[in-house]
């Protein structure tokens, strides 16, 4: 299979879904309605495209693992796109351990979710369109993963934003969905604004350096990620020549992109609302892949962050805050998808915090494991919602474990994984906590994240017990599970349970070649993990997080199975009730933004509109009116009488001649 094993063919992974998307869109345009062509062709096209992509990704994984030596070679190829003076734009593909990891995650999870989608959207009139959008998203995400430089990643960054917008608003006749997709788009605009400025700022300071650098490395492009480790120091010197804080500013501007895309404070409010989209979308885009793109981007431009300590501290602080705030909000949610959305946000906070404290590989490892178990949790919630006739409120569920046995088991696996109880989430979260604990500057990160881990365990098991245990509290007739939906769940349960232990801490062997997960990087200085597998379990940090996770589980069991009246009692206590109000109102972020928009922004906009109407339009219309008025006055001169013209001509010539004489004398 030379086609698959040639690593230079990897770019085609992104092209397959693009072709599928084009075919679906064109066939819809050519044949009009969906039913002229059988609608399964759309899903068959998309799923086939993703499946072939997965084969490519597996071969790429094999290529990575079979590399001799510890250092993993990167393959980069750039195609010249356009140039202006010394400025060149390139599009290409970059294969290294990070992109191969993401390729595998995206194609594998996409494939399972697309199969699941067939079951979930079977009766939806927009079935074919939905698969077209899915293919578009896959193209954008894979293109983002394979990007070689900041310009290219920015293009695909926007493309995943568009796919996300289209898919959140897929049921756009529902007002809440229409509002949610616009909100997601606008929030991401704010972040992308900063991101673009960061790219331009970086280019501004690095522009003189690229000419000679690209002369030495002809395979690279301008603003290539692979050049950043070499160039970051030089760029910083260049920036320092202007102002020392410019480099920090660039790093933080670049960070605004991930802040919006990965739902970090304060640009996070779109993610919970994005749950208005169909559940497979929540699983694929808003849990496993797109929201993780922010963390991926931080990983790609990491040398810029490591050169600015203050930027790293900001990243760590924002990640930690997000983790804590999102976890507290998740405690109070009754909508199963909203609870999962806040848990996603909290876990993204873990990843960003890991990046901020310098635990680069731990952050990416958590991204990797989180993608599997969070996608699975969302798919489980979709299965539950589907079975309960589109009911999302957990207060109207309960006791579903007998009716939905496979969903119940896989959800339990997912909860154990995210709560850090031995399944995959434990290993990656343990790595982050370990890294934070060992860095004396970041003790606050460690303590906050450790507490958040307990909260995570509590609110996840809260959703689990409310949904699957106790008595059924709803009115809807509960359907049986759909075989198209539980199949992917069962497959996803395996990596959710085991992939952490398979990758963590193992040096050498099958996965040792993915250098990612065997060691830490603190500010680019590698630090070996102290413990092997069993050692990690028994180490103080490992056993502490196990203990915290178990406490969360037990408390959730007490609150929601043994004594369901306890939460209400706690809610009625004075301090707890105000805390509960704060959490259930999402820390008032939405209200603050709404007040800001209503009071400040709209007032400013009205003022601007007034200035536009009065000032700008006044000047423009005034000029027009002045010209018109003078025209009306002057046209009287054009009487059409030749004799008048001659008289004017004659006297003008005489006057000019006299003047000429006057000046000459």
């Amino acid at each position: 299979m030379p086609w698959f094993s040639d690593i230079n063919n990897i770019w085609i992974v992104a092209i397959y879904p693009l072709v599928a998307f084009m075919l679906i869109v064109l066939s819809r345009a050519l044949f009009g309605k969906d039913d002229k062509i059988p609608k399964w062709t759309a899903s068959a096209l998309t799923i086939t495209a993703t499946a072939i992509g997965l084969v490519h990704a597996l071969f790429a994984l094999n290529w990575l693992v079979s590399q001799p030596g510890d250092a993993v070679k990167a393959v980069e190829h750039n195609y010249h796109w356009l140039s202006a003076g010394g400025f060149n734009l390139s599009i290409g593909y970059l294969v290294d351990s990070m992109s191969v990891m993401m390729l595998f995650v995206v194609t594998f999870i996409s494939l399972l979710i697309q199969i699941y989608t067939h079951g979930y959207m079977k009766h939806d009139p927009g079935y074919a369109k939905f698969f077209g959008y899915l293919a578009l998203f896959n193209f954008s995400m894979l293109g983002l993963v394979l990007s070689t430089n900041l310009f290219q990643i920015y293009i695909f960054w926007e493309l995943v934003g568009v796919s996300s917008y289209l898919l959140i608003g897929f049921w756009f006749t529902k007002p809440s969905a229409a509002a949610a997709c616009v909100k997601a788009f606008l929030m991401n605009r704010v972040g992308d604004f900063g991101f673009l400025f960061g790219i331009l700022g970086l280019l501004y300071f690095s522009f003189p350096l690229w000419g000679s650098y690209l002369g030495l490395h002809p395979d690279m492009a301008m603003l290539s990620f692979r050049a950043l480790p070499d160039l970051a120091g030089a760029i910083m010197d260049n920036a320092n020549a202007v102002q020392p804080w410019f480099f920090t500013a660039i790093a933080l501007l670049l960070f605004m992109g991930p802040m919006a895309k990965s739902a970090q404070l304060p640009l996070h409010t779109w993610l919970p609302d994005a749950m208005e989209g169909p559940t497979p979308i929540s699983a694929l885009i808003h849990a496993a892949t797109m929201v993780a793109a922010g963390v991926y981007l931080i990983g790609r431009v990491y040398p810029i962050f490591t050169h600015s300590e203050s930027a790293m501290i900001v990243v760590a602080a924002i990640g930690t805050l997000t983790a804590v705030v999102a976890a507290t909000i998740a405690l109070t949610q009754y909508d199963i998808k909203k609870a999962l959305a806040y848990s996603t946000m909290s876990q993204l906070g873990f990843m960003v915090a890991a990046m901020g404290i310098g635990a680069f590989t731990a952050g990416l490892f958590h991204l990797f494991t989180h993608a599997f178990f969070k996608a699975m949790l969302f798919l489980c919630s979709g299965s539950v919602i589907h079975a309960c006739e589109d009911e999302q409120d957990m207060r109207k569920m309960g006791g579903l474990k007998d009716k939905l046995p496979i969903t119940h088991l896989t959800y339990l696996v997912g909860c154990l994984a995210i709560a850090g109880l031995l399944f995959s989430g434990f290993w990656s979260k343990d790595m982050i906590l370990d890294a934070a604990k060992h860095n004396p500057n970041f003790q606050f990160v460690y303590w906050n994240l450790a507490i958040t881990a307990g909260l995570t365990s509590f609110y996840m098991f809260r959703t689990y017990f409310m949904t699957f245990h106790g008595k059924y509290r709803g009115q809807a007739h509960v359907h049986n599970e759909d075989k198209w939906m539980v199949g992917p769940l069962a497959v996803l349960a395996i990596p959710s349970a085991l992939i952490g232990v398979a990758l963590a801490g193992l040096k050498g062997g099958l996965f040792g070649k993915i250098p990612a997960f065997g060691e830490y990087i603190y500010y680019l200085h590698p630090l070996e993990r102290e413990h092997d597998l069993v050692g990690a379990l028994l180490s103080p940090i490992g056993s502490t997080s196990l203990l915290i996770g178990s406490i969360g589980l037990v408390v959730a069991y007490l609150f929601y199975v043994v004594a369901p009246f306890v939460p209400d009692i706690i809610k009625s206590m004075p301090i707890a009730s105000s805390a509960f109000n704060l959490f259930s109102n999402k820390w008032y972020f939405d209200d603050i933004y709404k007040a800001f928009v209503d009071r400040v922004y709209l007032a400013f906009a009205r003022g601007s509109a007034e200035f536009d109407r009065g000032g700008i339009d006044g000047v423009v219309n005034g000029t027009g009116r002045a010209v018109m008025g003078s025209g009306f006055a002057l046209r009287e001169l054009q009487s059409g009488k030749v004799q008048t013209y001659i008289a004017i001509m004659f006297f003008s010539v005489v006057t000019l001649t006299l003047l000429l004489f006057y000046w000459l004398m």
């Binding site: 054009q638 059409g640 030749v642 004799q643 008289a647 004659f650």
Partner: protein, 109 residues
Amino acid sequence: MPDFITHVGLTHYVVLAAILFVIGLTGVLTSRNVVRVLLAVELMLSAVTINLVAFNNYLHTGNGLLGQIFAIFVLTVSAAEASVGLAIVIALYRARATADMEDYTLLKW
């Protein structure tokens, strides 16, 4: 007897030409009839011709008859011009049924 009566010089011719020119101009500006305007234009042309002859005679004495030849050319051209002018006048009269300058205001705004 003052000198300017006994001796006729260049000044006399130039003054005569200027007087003729102004009479012609006054005719052009004040006449209502197109034919009169045409006549007045001929008068202005004659004034210029007189200048040509006079200047040649007094300032270019050794230089042959250049001014006189010019004058004959001007007369020839003015004859042709008069015929074209009259043709235009007839065309105008046919179009507007009047020879009054006041009524020729087609180019008015």
